[in-house]
């Protein structure tokens, strides 16, 4: 045993703990210095160069950021690789407008090409110009409006609460003392607390553990670690099965409006997109699609 330590000692690089501490101190001073320099360097933020509508036309296709795993909105069939859902249809309608063709022709010629985005990547992807627009269950908020342009809302979503059929929870009144699992970084907790208050249950004690991702949340519900799995209704469809059900489906709360997101600099594209969304709503196409895809 002792010999092992000795040989380890001789092979050990000559950085002692004391040396490490002083090195760390020096590094911290360095970082502090760099931050000052960095600030000065970054003050002139260069606006991302979004493609103009002409550039999209000469490129030959519209790059759209969509969800790949939200059934009914943006969903990529893993077998065929094909995208489907209401947001895919919206993208084709926008592409048709950009290229001046009919929607069915845009679809046939593949004038919209799709890139999968997540909640974390959709902002950066549209900023860097890798996609021209994002149509991916993106809620319009005053905060986000400061950073990006949004079309008028094409759909209004709300929060859904999934419970196990075997749990005996039949209404919101049964939620006292229960555990409601929510997604990290989501506003769900505040929305539910507000809803409980509005329903006259402000005195309920409910805990809200936050989970890193939806599959873990679904597993926590299935295994009985939480009583309720609360997320946006758009996402909840993916996790519905025979053993769970939506709690009080007719109770609509935590409304949020989805809009098509473009960069601040893409003014021409933004007004074009807004026009398309208005037309789709006016013509009843959105309502038809919501029925067709059985949106909750």
């Amino acid at each position: 045993m002792r010999r092992t330590y000795d040989s380890w000692q001789s092979a050990r690089p000559q950085l002692t703990r004391r040396g490490f501490v002083s090195l760390a101190g020096a590094a911290m001073i360095g970082v502090a210095g760099a931050s000052v320099v960095g600030l000065a360097g970054c003050s002139s933020s260069d606006a991302p160069s979004a493609a103009s509508v002409d550039a999209i036309r000469s490129r030959g296709h519209l790059n759209c950021g969509v969800k790949t795993d939200v059934i009914g909105y943006g969903y990529q069939d893993t077998a065929t690789g094909k995208f489907q859902g209401m947001e895919i249809d919206i993208c084709y309608a926008i592409a048709a407008k950009v290229f001046g063709v009919s929607t069915s022709e845009a679809r046939r010629r593949g004038l919209a090409s799709f890139t999968g985005v997540t909640a974390k990547t959709r902002g950066p992807l549209v900023d860097s110009g890798q996609v021209d627009l994002v149509c991916a269950t993106y809620t319009i908020t005053p905060e986000r409006k400061k950073s990006w342009n949004f079309s008028p809302a094409y759909y209004t979503d709300s929060i859904g609460m999934l419970v196990l059929r075997s749990s005996g929870i039949k209404s919101v009144a049964d939620l006292d003392g229960r555990i409601v699992g929510v997604g990290e970084g989501a506003d769900t907790m505040n929305q539910i607390q507000q809803m409980l208050k509005d329903q006259g249950h402000g005195d309920f004690s409910v805990s809200y553990p936050q989970y890193l991702d939806y599959p873990t949340l679904a597993a926590a519900l299935a295994s009985g670690n939480i009583d309720v799995f609360a997320i946006d209704r758009s996402i909840i469809r993916t996790y519905m099965n025979d053993s769970n059900e939506l709690l009080e489906p007719s109770l609509i709360f935590g409304k949020q409006e989805y809009g098509v997101c473009t960069t601040k600099s893409a003014t021409e594209l933004t007004s074009l997109v807004s026009g398309v969304v208005k037309d789709l709503k006016g013509s009843g196409a959105i309502d038809r699609w919501a029925k067709k895809y059985r949106l909750l």
Binding site: M1, R2, Y5, D6, Q9, R17, V31, A34, S35, G38, L39, G41, C42, G181, E184, G185, P209, Q210, Y211, L212, T216, A219, A220, A222, S223, G224, N225
Partner: protein, 245 residues
């Protein structure tokens, strides 16, 4: 470079209440987990040095199982299957939930117990066989020989690797974040998810460092002490008595 943005740093540092809460939780889980791992490890470590084939077999299988499967899988399995298994065992009407604290103390304790068992085993094996024979020839029973002769000497040899295990144990408690456990990593993740500022992770790292660095220094010190030649150990006998108390 948003990482150096002073406003984001200010916003993050103003919101460290929950991080400190997680910091304390992590320390509590670590201490309880360490206790479990020492109990399990000592028992199995002694098992693997006995002459009983069965006890040696139990210890071997246990150690190999826990050393060769990831702790994340173990935690996830206990988290998802545990409540239903407990329901089946106890015959309760509903699933029996396991508090995240208890769950991770058990998982981390059992996982590191396997490593502690190996440390103890090698420590005991480092004591010359003559010591046991000598003790027994003096009328000590086997248990007494372990208690008064072998283990006190083992103690000094195994302290550095044990402290190393404590260090890894602290870091492994961060799996709590996956099951919404309320530890330091969980709180940091929420802070980052809510604000979108990565600074929360840096503060989180600094807090883990605050726990781990003293342990790392302890390891270095113990190693130095354990390497010292026997005659230079001023408190060799004191150390042995200490171990006995």
């Amino acid at each position: 470079m948003e990482l150096f943005n002073p406003e984001r740093w200010a916003a993050t540092l103003a919101n460290t209440d929950l991080l400190w809460q997680g910091f304390l939780f992590t320390i509590e889980v670590s201490l309880a987990g360490l206790l479990v791992s020492l109990l399990v490890g000592t028992l199995l470590g002694v098992f693997s040095t006995t002459q009983s084939r069965v006890l040696r077999g139990i210890s071997r299988v246990y150690v190999e199982f826990f050393q060769n499967t990831p702790i994340v899988v173990q935690v996830f399995f206990v988290y998802t299957a545990g409540p239903m298994l407990l329901q089946a065992i106890t015959g309760a009407e509903h699933v029996v939930r396991i508090a995240p604290f208890v769950l991770v103390v058990i998982c981390v304790g059992l996982y590191h117990g396997a490593y502690v068992a190996e440390v103890i085993r090698t420590g005991i094996e480092a004591i010359p066989r003559g010591q046991m024979e000598g003790a027994q020839s003096q009328g000590f029973t086997r248990v007494q020989a372990y208690r008064y002769v072998i283990l006190p000497q083992t103690f000094r040899i195994i302290l550095p690797p044990l402290a190393n295990q404590a260090l890894n144990l602290v870091k492994n408690t961060s799996v709590l974040a996956l099951i919404a456990g309320g530890d330091l990593m969980y709180q940091a993740d929420i802070l980052v998810a809510d604000s979108g500022y990565l600074q929360g992770y840096i503060v989180c790292c600094a807090m883990y460092f605050l726990i781990c660095f003293p342990i790392a220094m302890l390891v270095t010190w113990l190693e130095k002490r354990s390497r010292a030649p026997r005659k230079a150990r001023r408190t060799a006998t004191a150390g042995a008595t200490e171990a006995e108390v």
